[in-house]
């Protein structure tokens, strides 16, 4: 695959939405599930009642946020109708979660998704929640639908842990995707057991992590209570919104421009090279719901 060389000079010339540090070259045209000319819709929903890092959120509140977000995404008022727009009772559904020890996908969110799937008519035995064992998981092996969910956090090699990156465990050898700071992570979305199956992406921004330290990449000093979910069909669009929030928080916290180190180039390359979605803010319809203090985007 020929690498597209992108210097800062080129970005300054070509980009209308250049953000220092997290900068991406925005020239993608593809939007998930829509025509090339339409925008990728992304829902950012926040609720002040969510707790701070380390405390368990109210399961009912998490489900309420998820359903409100989905309803806004598909233009429906009734969550049960909204779920039926993306999932059929006959579906076999893999919920790709993330078990990273210090900032996993909240179990309350996993449960909320599973309960809604069951309410939609999916058989319980046709639903699995898994991360590192997905290649051996019988449900994932025969899945007709995937739901992708994880928290966003800074990452020592890929810049940020994203929805795009969350599928790396589908690869036979995940470390094969590490070269060039994980530039081609989006290629995993073309694997036969992945391609075209993702029905929903849910990026967890309850207490996202904006900086890393040490081999375990974590300090409680580097998470904050953003209390949000970002939901969409286009994983690149959802990730790029999350990235802008992380970058804004870094600049605010460190009181200077503080680009991700290394840059999260895999998001831009998911757009420009792999055409998985769009990272261009001008091609994203961002709908903001709920608590609006310190939105950062």
């Amino acid at each position: 695959m020929t690498e597209k060389k992108i210097t800062r000079r080129e970005m300054l010339i070509n980009t209308t939405a250049f953000t220092v540090g997290s900068a991406l070259l925005f020239n993608g045209t593809y939007a998930w599930g829509s025509s090339a000319s339409s925008k990728s819709r992304v829902i950012l929903i926040r609720d002040e009642r969510l707790p701070d890092y380390g405390a368990k959120p109210d399961p009912a509140l998490v489900k309420e946020m998820l359903n409100k977000g989905l309803c806004a995404l598909v233009d429906e008022e009734d969550p049960s109708v909204a779920w039926k727009k993306i999932i059929q009772p006959s579906d076999i559904v893999g919920i790709k979660t993330n078990v990273w020890q210090t900032l996993p996908t909240p179990p309350e969110l996993e449960t909320a998704i599973k309960e809604e799937l069951i309410s939609t008519g999916v058989a319980s035995e046709n639903i699995s929640i898994n991360d590192r064992g997905i290649r051996r998981d019988p449900v994932f092996q025969k899945a007709t639908a995937l739901i992708n969910t994880r928290p966003m956090r800074t990452h020592a090699w890929s810049g940020v842990g994203t929805l795009i990156k969350n599928y790396i465990m589908f690869a036979e050898k995940p470390s094969d995707l590490h070269p060039d700071s994980c530039a081609d992570l989006a290629s995993v979305w073309n694997l036969p057991n992945v391609k075209g199956k993702t029905r929903l992406n849910v990026l967890v921004m309850f207490t996202p992590q904006f900086s890393s330290v040490g081999p375990h990449s974590f300090s409680p000093d580097y998470v904050w209570s953003y209390k949000g979910l970002i939901i969409g069909f286009d994983p690149v669009a959802v990730d790029s919104v999350g990235l802008r929030i992380i970058q804004a928080k870094r600049n605010d916290y460190f009181k200077e421009d503080r680009p991700l180190n290394p840059p999260a180039k895999h998001i831009e390359i998911a757009d420009t090279r792999h055409h998985l979605g769009t990272a261009d803010p001008s091609k994203i319809e961002l709908i903001k719901l709920g608590w609006d203090e310190d939105l950062l985007v």
Binding site: E3, K4, K5, I6, T7, R8, R9, M11, L12, I13, F18, V20, G21, A23, G54, T102, H155, A156, W157, S158, P174, S175, H178, D180, S181, C182, A183, S211, S212, V213, G214, P215, H216, S217, F218, S219, P220, D221, F254, K255, E256, D257, P259, N261, P262, P263, K265
Partner: protein, 306 residues
């Protein structure tokens, strides 16, 4: 004061010769925390331990790591890692890559924030972490850090290229040392590829100058020979700033100034300068430093404390 506590720990240690010997740098107990288990990883299985984060250590050059877990009733575990890097420059590089400040409390440079204490000494990078600090856990972590600091017998020199950074307006702790191209963009995005042919044979450093609202970035790359430096410079000018063939500085579209030059086998470039004069002045300061180092025939590496 923690250094004074070391004799009370009453553990013998020897200079580690292999992976297992790294355990000699660690106490079996610290206050109420007792050793639970050891794990060892090398550059073939570090992924099994820290997955994607392994690449950072591999990019600097890494041999082996010991991870020891300490447990205490009613408190969070403390996990300690000692990374045996290929050389002192690698341990120093990892530290500069992730520290936000340098508190000089342990080893040759240290940083302690909530739940994390890191430092480097000789060719070792050390990390102590816990999920959340309490007064007791922080005291235990510092006691372990002091033990390790004392057990590692030698200090080592920082890379000589550090001595080529002009001191004036340098942001304290605002530099990152590297020899892998991924870290070219550490503070300022330059390119998404290895535009300067950075590799294990090069020494690179990127540094911040001035206040946040008038920030300049200085990039220095020292090549093994002038031929390699000239080739890298030619590629950089061709692909990033062709205007430098005819001018000594370039104004970019974001109204910042950029310049670059080659001094024998040293590449130097200034980015994001608020004005042309600032850019050229910073470059001239590098030139003076490089000339001084050449004249003295010794690396001037002691002017900046790591």
């Amino acid at each position: 004061m923690y250094r004074l506590m070391i004799p009370a720990l009453l553990f013998l240690y020897v200079v580690p010769m292999n992976a297992a010997d790294l355990s000699a740098f660690l106490p079996v107990q610290s206050n109420e925390w007792s050793m639970e288990s050891d794990q060892y990883f090398n550059n073939e299985n570090l992924y099994d331990y820290i997955d994607g984060a392994a690449e950072l250590y591999l990019s600097y050059g890494f041999n082996t790591v010991i991870s020891r877990r300490y447990a205490c009733p009613d408190e969070m575990d403390i996990v300690v890692e000692i990374f045996d890097m290929n050389g002192a420059r690698d341990a120093f590089g990892v530290f500069t890559n992730m520290r936000e400040k340098n508190q000089h409390e342990f080893g040759q440079g240290s940083q302690q924030i909530e739940g994390s204490l890191i430092f480097w000494k000789d060719h070792y990078f050390v990390s102590l972490s816990t999920h959340r600090n309490t007064g007791r856990s922080l005291a235990a972590m510092k006691k372990i850090a002091a033990f390790i600091d004392h057990a590692i017998p030698n200090e080592n020199q920082v890379p000589a290229i550090l001595g080529l950074l002009p001191e004036q307006n340098l942001v304290s702790e605002g530099y990152c040392y590297f020899h892998h191209y991924i870290w070219l963009n550490s503070y300022y995005y330059i390119a998404n590829y290895n535009i300067l042919d950075v590799n294990d044979q090069t020494d690179g450093i990127v540094a911040k100058y001035g206040s946040p609202d008038r920030r300049s970035y200085l990039l220095l790359i020292q090549y093994p020979d002038e031929q390699a430096a000239q080739a890298a410079y030619a590629q950089f000018v061709s692909e990033f700033s062709p205007e430098l063939k005819a001018a000594n500085a370039v104004r970019l579209k974001d109204d910042t100034w950029h310049t670059a030059a080659l001094y024998e086998r040293l590449f130097a470039s200034v980015f994001n300068a608020p004005g042309k004069e600032e850019a050229i002045q910073l470059l001239n300061s590098v030139k003076s430093k490089a000339q001084l180092a050449t004249d003295e025939k010794v690396p001037n590496h002691k002017t900046i404390q790591p």
